[in-house]
Symmetry: C2
Subunit: 202 residues, 2 copies
């Protein structure tokens, strides 16, 4: 079947977001990253006004950061914790985006949310620690923590979050149509390979 | 760095062996599968004559099947169990093959054994259960067990063996430069992508 809903899951610092953007450009289809998915969820009928109004998230802080907080976000809504409520809102937004037509969605466990769509193509982008450490310092600058520590913390958080909401193992090859190590394959080349596979699907 | 030692790890029935053979043909380099690695190990100075002479393996049964038996193979050699001794012999043979020059090695945990070689390129080939079930029935015929049961047993055995000897998780994307789902990508196309990446490496 023609695959034209592309999900990109990625290790922090691997260049997965850039791969997704390049694939969307090459295919001429919309690109949804974390911020856009969040915005669409907020503007939808499911918008968690309750959370906003109750001021349970710090001003200027991403609402979805709560959905991805490690544990124990306070607040319960309709019997759901804030994090679980946000997970449901996010699922709704992603399912809706996929229904609207061809697109690239980066992150947000979209590979799991869209796992039953036969027209979806799932990619996982990763890279060696050294490659990612160098990349995050170049892109986001230094911080008080070493780049390796920042990466380990992010990796752990994504892994725990993914496992919690999907019951699957983060980064297990069998959940994806393709997994690529950008440290050896290259960011541009990874985008090229995915685009070619999507174009060749039928 | 130029990558010309290619290891292919694969789920049973995914077509990974065929991918490896095609890559070797396209690159014009030797192809070593399970049987050849076993033969080379047996003919090397490390040949486990002890095991052969003590008749601890059934005639006609692959010697290496013992190394991959789930647990508790009887027999101890130089303080090592038969399985552990065979693991060491196999490691030696694979390291030696890689030293001899460009080649494709399928299976035998070669991705782990050669993980420190900067000229090695590691691929993992997998596929959905339905694709693999159909494939093993076509290639190896029916048996008293259902193809799904056969696949589950093989998957489990490879997973346990890999974990035991490498301490790593079988099928974790981060251990490979590329992972491909042959059910969506195709066997020929997987070989083409790997060949192109190896040719482009420098």
């Amino acid at each position: 079947m023609k695959k034209n809903i592309i999900t990109i899951s990625r290790q922090f610092g691997s260049g997965g977001r850039t791969v997704g953007r390049l694939v969307a450009e090459k295919l001429g289809i919309p690109f949804y990253d974390k911020e856009l998915v969040e915005q669409i969820a907020l503007e939808s009928g499911f918008a968690p006004k309750y959370v906003e109004e109750n001021g349970e998230h710090a001003p200027g802080k991403s609402l979805f950061s709560y959905a991805f907080a490690p544990q124990g976000v306070p607040g319960v809504m309709n019997g759901l914790s804030t994090a679980d409520f946000l997970w449901q809102v996010q699922c709704g937004a992603i399912l809706q985006l996929a229904d609207q037509g061809p697109c690239v969605i980066v992150g947000r466990n979209a590979d799991y949310i869209l796992k039953n769509r036969k027209d979806a193509f799932h990619a996982f982008i990763h890279a060696d620690m050294a490659f990612r450490a160098d990349r995050i310092v170049r892109l986001y600058g230094e911080s008080e923590k070493s780049p390796e520590t920042r990466l380990q913390e992010k990796d752990k958080r994504r892994k725990v979050n993914y496992q919690h909401y999907t019951g699957r193992v983060w980064g297990a090859a069998e959940n994806y149509d393709i997994c690529l190590n950008t440290a050896t394959v290259g960011v541009e080349e990874a985008a090229e390979i995915i685009t070619n596979l999507v174009n060749a699907s039928k």
